[in-house]
Amino acid sequence: MAEYTDAVHANVVHEHKDHAKEHLREKHLMLDPLPRGKMNEMVMESMTTTSWKFWVVFGILSAIVAGCLFYVWGYMISEGLGVTGKNRPSYWGLFLVNTVFWIGISHAGTFISAILRVFKAEFRRPFTRAAELMTTFGLVQAGFSVFMHLGRVWLAYWLIPYPNQRMLWPNTHSPLTWDLLAITTYLLSSTMYLFLPLIPDLAMARDRSTGWRKTFYKILALGFRGTEGEWTHLRNAMTIFAFAIIPVMFSVHTIVSWDFAAATRPGWNSTIFGPYFVVGALHSGMGAVVMVLAIVRGTMKNMKYFIRGEHFDAIAKLMLIISMAWAYFFFNDYMVQWYGGDKWTHQLLHFHEAGPMGWMWFAMLIFNIAIPWAVLWNQKWRSTPWIVFAVGLLINVGMYLERYIIVPVSLSINRMPFTWRLYYPRVEILLGIGTLALFIWLYMAASRLIPLIPVWEVEEGQMAHELKKFGRETVVSVSELE
């Protein structure tokens, strides 16, 4: 805006000011309000406009889910886990890697939605829903992966504390029992947290649709009419959930990390695993959010209005900070373990870097640290969707490798050198692809059924934002609505 301060002519100044305003409107969603009702129409249109390409991809994904997930899983249940690549030292393989990975993906949803809501970060408004959907669908995949892992999955209900005649309860000493309870709590609370802000949008969709959609939204909207009392109740509920779900989110990945940290194994028995895993989860989760946003923006109608460069810029800044935090925890964990002097830990750390899977270790560091640090410092690159998408993808690959190094690579080395053996996944790969396909399938189905953009939240933000003049500068200000 420096160019117009030097201008002499009043007209020129005025014209340039309009230019500056236009520029701000283009850049910021919050300063670019539309006529009343227009946004609702755009969101409805994005839901109902489905091209043939959607159905082709949807069909392919359905086939992958049926083949790779359900058929292969059925085959694995009937044959036993011998069809996987697991063996004596690597009793846990890709299924646990996938579980940790999907729980990590699910963390970004809550992080963006709840933490940014609590801190009133305005850029969150258009994509809270897209992130919350990731939480719920990611947890579904984590659940699938952990059940695949069981040797006798048909008896999995024994892990649930239910009253029974023999007074047999789950073992509360076991981190896996905590895990099950934590994941269930997180799934239930994140689903409710997804549903609450959805109610006004469902009511909006109900009023603007006909046929089966009308019935569908009518049931889900729970008779929401938008009275002052309803809004007050909804706001209170959302505030309570936003605060309450944050400790749940931290506890889930901490407890997942305890599956490893509570074991007496070299490399696993580390006190820093709790926060290290939480930061790692956010790292992969943020990467996944930008990937989803880039795809939604590129493929769905009217989304270029809602999701703009500023949003990629804001999330990419968070990605950069989280990458730094992850590097800090990684270094801390590595250094303290190395100086601990335990010979088995030394052996394991050496195996990580210089063993046959050493390329993974270096790839992890490049994807998780080097690439985000090299790319995300530049605002222009941060605002370009495809660049942020690529960085997010690489971060997810890096975080997947990190979990792979922690689970099967660390398991191949133990205190009994006679049993050392490498692990090579077999059908786990197909099942992993199956969970990925199911995640995308659920997301695509949801994008046709529920409004991906929280319209009320965007409109509320736009009402609260205004341009104020301080001297000759035009400044964006936010008024407190709540």
């Binding site: 030292p89 040797g151 981190p175 896996l176 509570a262 074991a263 133990n414 009994m416």
Partner: protein, 241 residues
């Protein structure tokens, strides 16, 4: 409904069982491995899966070589089996209570029909002596005619491990009880100890100071593996005596 505190242990049912293994006289003949597999109905895994690290033997003979070729020195044979830890790391991590400590025999027992197959116990075992039923393995003829009726046959998806031949312990205890006496030292032994041609494996009551096993165990040069982890193993090894 029986509550745990109502279970009364009679004196003749309790006891702390232990083992001594002399690596200096072990010839590595693997007779213990074969005897154990026959006694405990261990699955016949086959060559392919065994080669992939899925052999299910409850006892294995470990041997290493030290130094660089051609100056190689073989280490003594080391039979490795469940150490029946007093403070076992496998027990607290099982979410289903399938891996528990028995009050009566002071052993770690695996409840096969309670196991759901999370395999956490096997990860957490520092001795890596637990074996998992990766498949329902077929037994080639004539092995199906050779089953021990005292031992459960396990199906796929279940963890299993050495039990110190708990079926033999119970049989001896029942016999002694019917004759109104204590179990005598050396009256019975485990399958591996029975099959050992060199008598390198000795089994018995370690809480009885008169028994052969506790006298051997208190000799000076016995070591317990990975004792520094605080697992309180019940198997003592002799090497270089």
């Amino acid at each position: 409904m029986i509550r745990p505190e109502e279970i009364k242990l009679s004196a003749d049912q309790s006891g702390k069982w232990g083992m001594v293994i002399d690596q200096d006289i072990c010839t590595g003949c693997q007779a213990c491995v074969a005897a154990c597999a026959m006694e405990n109905n261990i699955s016949f895994v086959g060559e392919a899966d065994s080669g992939y690290g899925r052999s299910m033997h409850w006892i294995r003979i470990e041997r290493f070589w030290e130094g660089e070729y051609p100056e190689i020195k073989m280490t003594p044979n080391q039979p490795m089996l469940c150490q029946q830890c007093g403070s076992a790391t496998c027990e607290p991590v099982c979410p289903a209570f399938a891996t528990v400590h028995s009050q009566a025999e002071q052993l770690n027992v695996q409840v096969y029909n309670r196991c759901v197959g999370t395999r956490y116990c096997a990860n957490n075992c520092p001795y890596q002596v637990r074996s998992f039923n990766w498949r329902d393995y077929k037994r080639p003829e004539p092995l199906p005619n050779q089953f021990n009726p005292d031992v459960t046959v396990r199906r796929r998806g279940i963890m299993e491990k050495c039990t110190f031949c708990i079926q033999r312990i119970h049989k001896a205890q029942d016999k002694a009880k019917s004759e109104a006496r204590e179990v005598l030292d050396g009256e019975f032994t485990t399958a591996c100890a029975q099959a050992c041609p060199a008598d390198a494996i000795v089994f018995g009551r370690v809480d009885d100071p008169e028994s052969l096993v506790s006298q051997l165990a208190h000799r000076n040069h016995g070591v317990k593996h990975l004792e520094e982890l605080g697992t309180l193993p019940n198997v003592t090894y002799f090497k270089g005596g």
